[in-house]
Symmetry: C2
Subunit: 478 residues, 2 copies
């Protein structure tokens, strides 16, 4: 499975299926998450959910079907989402009076309900999250990254004022950054979206952006300050301490199963998946080698290691199937298992095992008496190493010396000629939509975000050369 720039999407599509993460279905753009794919999501959920609860949020569940009239109430929102909505028009043999959309996001339903739930400043803030399936009927689909149905969490909060709401918006973006970097070992740039890339109905959208191995960007999480746009549309008012009615300020924020796709495209290699230990369904696989069937002591020792690892909460498997050792190596490498332990007769004699981390070439001998400690340590080391590697890759492919469209076009021509990836470019932008649009039209590079902490500051607009108001990441994006 070649991972060449030109073949990257084929590599990706092959890998997610061969590694048993998903299967396609006859329903357009809808995938089935197989257990290994879904378990990655469960690990992400567990960590996110913990962080949400630690910061005072609670989960709730809102109806998936949204009346058409709800969408009409916020004009930017309906404009943004109507091209992608699937509609229920009949149920139980009867035609419905009003069409019901499958939710693409729940701002409208939640806006409607919050207008009943919130009466006084004592009810605020409302800090609610939902884990749910959502639908966006996309034209081009790609497993995990863009599917008609996907799984996500959507936070929806209401606050007394802008300050409190903006604090929430930033807090959640920070949590996303910490979880994506800490758990998925994916470095991200946090920053603000340009107006053209904002969520439909938001005042400000903030995002974390990640670089894939083909140099394209994935928006890995977004957090929106919605101001009073939805509270005005749905009449969410409260009685403040001065006994006056005021509109609440709302936020929403989300991450989705596209994070799984990002993990694959950031860490995977030509042999298949490379999973960060913290989210790997299997963290360690034990493989007997050599003439192990004639030597019962080998399996007995592996059983012993299996039990010891399991007792430490490590997700371990023992592969004592009839396949050859080489076949097993390939199989578990394809599935991205972080650590493999090989044990043969000579190893046993020397009271040692061979440990092989998925992301390095060397095998290392380790004494059996301290094998559990060695594995625990290596899992941690590998987790850090993957993040560091991804940071090095990102740095190498982040270009900060491109200041004009001519230079960008030359850079793209060179990349194409050399078969290298064009990566991201950090450039100035004057703030004019037309400049952003022209860059997109000519190069397919779109603004990813205006990073909070850019590596450097740019002074002239990439497109028009006028004074830059912002320093922006431009990239091709999924």
């Amino acid at each position: 499975m070649s991972q060449n720039t030109s073949n990257f999407s084929k590599w990706y599509i092959d890998t997610v299926q061969k590694a048993d993460l998903i299967d396609y279905t006859p329903v357009r753009g809808c995938i089935a998450f197989k257990p290994d794919g879904y378990e990655i999501w469960e690990h992400i959920q567990e960590e996110m959910d913990k962080r949400f609860k630690e910061t005072g949020h609670r989960n709730a569940y809102f109806p998936m079907l949204i009346p058409e009239s709800f969408f009409q109430k916020e004009k930017d929102h309906i404009e943004g989402f109507s091209p992608e909505l699937p509609w229920i028009t009949e149920a139980a043999g009867e035609k419905l009076e009003e069409r019901l959309a499958l939710r693409p996001t729940s701002e409208t339903m939640i806006g409607h309900l919050y207008s009943n739930w919130i009466k006084s400043y004592r009810d605020l803030p409302v800090l609610i999250n939902q884990w749910a399936n959502v639908f966006r009927w996309e034209k081009k689909t790609l497993p995990f990254i863009r599917t008609s149905e996907f799984l996500w969490q959507e936070g929806h909060t209401a606050h007394v004022d802008e300050e409190d709401a903006r604090k929430e918006t930033m807090q959640m973006l920070t949590i996303y950054k910490e979880v994506v970097e800490g758990l998925l070992a994916i470095p991200v740039y946090d920053g603000q979206k340009t107006p053209s890339e904002r969520f439909a109905g938001a005042i400000d959208t903030f995002s974390i952006e990640a670089m894939m191995k083909d140099g394209k960007a994935v928006q890995a999480g977004t957090s929106h300050y919605l101001g009073t746009k939805f509270s005005e549309a749905f009449n969410i008012k409260y009685l403040n301490k001065e006994n006056k009615h005021a509109y609440v300020h709302t936020t929403s924020w989300g991450t989705s199963t596209r994070l799984i796709g990002s993990v694959i495209m950031v860490h995977g290699d030509e042999k298949g998946l490379v999973l960060p230990p913290k989210i790997a369904p299997t963290q360690v696989v034990l493989i007997p080698v050599g003439p192990w069937k004639k030597n019962h002591a080998i399996l007995e020792k592996l059983d012993e290691i299996f039990v010891a690892l399991k007792a430490k909460g490590i997700r371990v498997r023992l592969d004592d199937s009839d396949q050859s050792a080489g076949y097993k190596y390939n199989e578990w490498e394809l599935k991205g298992v972080p650590i493999r332990i090989e044990l043969g007769p000579r190893d046993l004699e020397n009271n040692q095992g061979l440990i092989k981390a998925r992301d390095v070439d060397e095998k290392v001998s380790i004494p059996l008496e301290s094998i559990v400690e060695s594995i625990k340590k290596e899992l941690e080391t590998m987790q850090t190493r993957l993040l560091e590697k991804a940071k090095v890759f990102r740095a190498k492919n982040s270009h900060t010396h491109i200041d004009t469209m001519e230079q960008l076009k030359q850079h793209l021509a060179e990349s194409e000629q050399n078969g290298t990836i064009p990566g991201w470019i950090l450039a100035g932008w004057c703030g004019d939509d037309a400049c952003e649009e022209n860059v997109k039209e000519k190069t397919k590079f779109t603004t990813r975000n205006i990073p909070f902490n850019p590596p450097t500051t740019k002074h002239t607009c990439l497109n028009c050369g006028k004074e830059a108001k912002h320093t922006v990441w431009f990239a091709r994006a999924y």
Copy 2:
């Protein structure tokens, strides 16, 4: 909120809303689960999920939209579900070529996929569970108990033969019984459904049945042996050890958010919810009483207790709002919080607090130095006590002396006259659908299940007086 037999459903509807578990929405039969309602589900999920994983199951996720042609493949299945399906007919501005149903259950989609996933006996058993939302467009709806959209888990397994599949069917029913009794403190009868009450497409359906406080039954969980009906419909074959193709035997099993409704209807009283400690969002509420605002030591002590309880993993809240103590008592009783601790100036002087369990009338003084231990113990005691109380209630309202339709009619007339609940009756059944149908038509009593361990064995059919083949629970049911 009166809980009289005649008012029970009004009591229920009032209580779920006043206790802040749900809200209604403009979408027919779809409720919003508010945080306190959803958290009960989270506790149920956590325990169920643990039990599923301990028995070798893994979670996956399947598309929610099911092509109409899939339903046509199993004739009993489509007959059973087609009256309740909502349909997607358009998406992204275009009419679909084939209508897509919102899943009422996933046997068909999963059947289609398993036919690709299962090739050899080495692939078996397949043990998969899904947590998901499902839709059944019901005519009469009731929060949690019967809603157009609800949340559930559905297990779908495939096995080499009938024996293995039947073992799975029973194993999951046992897990359901243990979780519903152990976690929800609801005693259930496990048994087999009569053919007329089987799942659409099953060979055998087994259920656990619970008695509500109005004497009606709730089917709290079901486990189905599907034989080869779905594997034949979807061509799920495997190569067995003899190198021959054979159909797999499948099972499915489910529990849903109707368990939340059952908890309320089994334990609730005229003051509101009574929640078993293990699933209560708040397990303990601390309330300062008397002139506590003038005596800072009271709040300080309560803060100390709060921290100590939290450290033990107990879900505790401190209510230091401006409301009166009486108001707070009512409020937290309505919400079903298992334990309330009151602390006033005199209590503090005597170094004691008052502990009040939600389900008993007395308050008990306990020494402050051992308060954490006392609370832990009382939470456990209350959990057991609720189950025992529910068992006593069920025994009192389970009638085993009714052998003829005349006796049943007389029993119903007496119940009506006395304003008592008719409860369940254990009666013989000859096995004839017509007898079952006649009982239903005349009394609205339906067969709940044929219990594995009936309190006694019946010998003549309730309806026709002929020899009974089965001893059956009859009851009115939700």
